[in-house]
């Protein structure tokens, strides 16, 4: 099933309309952001209300370096990711002193610090006008990334690299211990794990990948503004993760795809997409609290065996 989806992502672009291709590119980039948030939300069990800040740091690094200093991709990429990692390393020291509601609120305040700089530090960020006319990167490839199909593959490559690394991380002993911390912090501590350090490393990794997503986003959009890192964006990424399924990597990617498609397709037909998005938020929590992937797993684990059993009973196996 997953393999088929990956295959489709790989071969379908030439057959898609340019509008759909654009949406897929957006979805792939947001999928990186959603997967990164899932490291702390789904695997470690900490809900952050400021994750868009790291995405914004990556995006603004590109915006400022590429337009004002003519920096290329191989400079903006490490700077953007490193900046996000550094800020996450500082913020993590503050935020990880708390859990639950306090963690939510502290990450919100920290996110606002970064948003405030983007919004008000006009000489650096051009404030609400944002930074526009960011050129697409030149990687010296035979295909120009200014066109939508090569850029799609560029974003797909970024997504696949992120997905592979994150998958190695969550399946490693380190990733398993994050899940252990989510399930029972005190038990992990008793077993001798350095709980704080695990959370901290998870937090910084999540920040780094969000920054990577931001770098790609700035190149894709050609434009960065405070909207990219405002509170509503942070909450939207939480929705993507919750809708797709916490604690899985493909779930958040799927959630990102659904929300991006929904937002753009609905706004073609009606101006009332905020209303519809609001309903999606509420419906997700009411009808699919474990997300789509969670619901599918539950189905596979409970409903399908029960169904098979009852059929076997009926027809004598």
């Amino acid at each position: 099933m997953v393999a088929i989806v990956f295959l489709l992502l790989l071969i379908s672009p030439p057959f898609l309309s340019s509008f759909l291709l654009t949406l897929l590119t957006q979805a792939l980039i947001y999928a990186i952001l959603a997967m990164s948030l899932d490291i702390i939300l789904g695997y470690t069990g900490l809900a952050s209300l400021g994750h868009a800040a790291y995405f914004g740091l990556g995006a603004y690094s590109v915006g400022i370096l590429a337009t004002r200093h003519g920096a290329g991709f191989w400079i903006t990429l490490p700077v953007g990711v490193l900046l996000a990692v550094t800020v996450a390393a500082i913020f993590g020291l503050v935020a990880l002193r708390a859990t639950g509601v306090y963690f939510l609120m502290i990450t919100l305040a920290l996110g606002m610090v970064v948003w405030g700089l983007a919004h008000r530090w006009v000489t650096m960020t051009q404030g609400d006008n944002g930074i526009s006319a960011i050129p697409r990167p030149d990687l010296g490839l035979p295909w120009s990334l200014a066109h939508s199909i090569p850029f799609y593959y560029f974003a797909l490559a970024g997504f696949l690299i992120s997905f592979s690394i994150l998958r190695v991380i969550v399946r490693s002993p380190f990733g398993r211990s994050l899940v252990g911390i989510r399930e029972s912090e005190s038990r992990m501590r008793t077993l001798g794990y350095h709980v704080w350090l695990h959370k901290y490393i998870g937090f910084v990794i999540a920040g780094g990948f969000a920054g990577f997503g931001g770098v790609l986003w700035a190149y894709y959009n050609g434009f960065v503004s405070p909207v990219d890192l405002q509170l509503a964006t942070s909450v939207e990424v939480l929705l993507m993760v919750a809708l797709g399924g916490r604690g899985t990597l493909l779930g958040p990617a799927l959630g990102a795809g659904i929300i991006i498609m929904l937002k753009n397709l609905v706004s073609v037909y009606t101006h009332r997409w905020l209303l519809i998005l609001g309903v999606v938020y509420i419906a997700t929590i009411v009808y699919a609290p474990e997300g789509i992937v969670g619901a599918m797993r539950q189905w596979r684990r409970r409903v399908r065996p029960a169904l098979v059993r009852s059929l076997e009973d009926q027809f004598g196996g």
């Binding site: 939300l41 639950g100 509601v101 939510l104 609120m105 008000r120 509170l231 209303l275 509420i282 929590i285």
Partner: protein, 284 residues
């Protein structure tokens, strides 16, 4: 000198507004640990409802009460239908209340359109007092007076009455409170209603000097949260100190370092939280 006096005065009056908005939110947080992203919408909708009432009737007092009561009703419905079932699920609370915030935002846009409005203030409250060389707008003095009255009433209720003692018990230990026969559910709903009521009052009052406009809900929401976390969830004193701190920092930040103004507000807040994660007056 004039700069310092007028900026301090402005900061205190903005802090008073924030106290109206965040005082109830702090009690909600302390008692139910509910993250309510709709709190900013109560503020915005309160202003809009009051605007309609004042256009129809011309009465400012009626507008305040109509706005606040309408929003209280909305808040109680939201609490009963959704939020009370989500206790302990922070992610569920954030997403559900965010959904409502988006829906309210869009409904407000449908009903009242995208233009900014100012709520017309009665002539008694317009104008300014002059003391020596300094001018103090009467409307801002009015806001400070309203906030002070609300703070006093809340303090009297919380510290001096039986209901207040039950509220404090619920903040301290909801399970134990339920055990000794306190109607925790009823008290929680009453506190939620109170929070919505005060947020709407804040929205109406704010409509008289910053106006009512689309986006005001998400603009003010982070301020309310920061007041609550810095003061300490569930602490009235904390909410009061937090609002003044945020009001003054915001005003002086914007006046002295316009480019870094949000940084000068949120960075010190984060620093306070780094030292005291439960806020100035909060208990873990």
């Amino acid at each position: 000198m004039e700069f310092w006096v007028s900026q301090t005065f402005n900061g205190i009056s903005y802090g008073a507004l924030l106290f109206l908005l965040a005082g109830g939110l702090s009690l909600i947080f302390g008692m139910m640990r509910i993250v309510n992203m709709t709190h900013g919408s109560y503020y915005l909708l309160g202003g809009y409802v009051a605007l309609t009432v004042i256009w129809r009737t011309g009465s400012f007092v009626l507008a305040i009460f109509a706005g606040a009561l309408a929003i209280t009703l909305i808040g109680v419905c939201e609490w009963n239908a959704f939020l009370k079932r989500l206790s302990g699920q922070e992610l569920g609370q954030v997403l559900t209340t965010m959904g409502f915030a988006l829906i309210f935002q869009d409904l407000a846009l449908i009903i009242w359109g995208g233009d900014p409005y100012t709520i017309p203030v009665p002539s008694v409250l317009s104008g300014a007092y002059q003391i020596g060389d300094f001018y103090f707008p009467i409307y801002r003095i009015f806001i400070i007076a309203v906030a002070a009255a609300v703070a006093l009433v809340l303090w009297l209720v919380l510290e001096q009455t039986r209901v207040g003692a039950m509220m404090r018990a619920t903040v301290d230990d909801p399970e134990m409170a339920r055990g000794v026969g306190i109607n925790v559910h009823g008290i929680s709903m009453a506190v939620f209603a109170l929070g919505a009521f005060l947020a709407a009052v804040a929205g109406v009052v704010a409509g008289g000097f910053v106006g009512v406009y689309p986006g005001a809900d998400f603009e003010i929401l982070p301020y309310a949260f920061v007041v609550v976390i810095v003061g300490g969830m569930g602490s009235l004193k904390g909410a009061l100190v937090g609002s003044m701190l945020v009001g003054l920092l915001d005003n002086f930040g914007k006046a002295l370092f316009p480019e870094l103004s949000y940084f000068t507000l949120f960075a010190p807040m984060a620093a306070i939280l780094a030292v005291r994660p439960t806020g100035l007056y909060g208990r873990a």
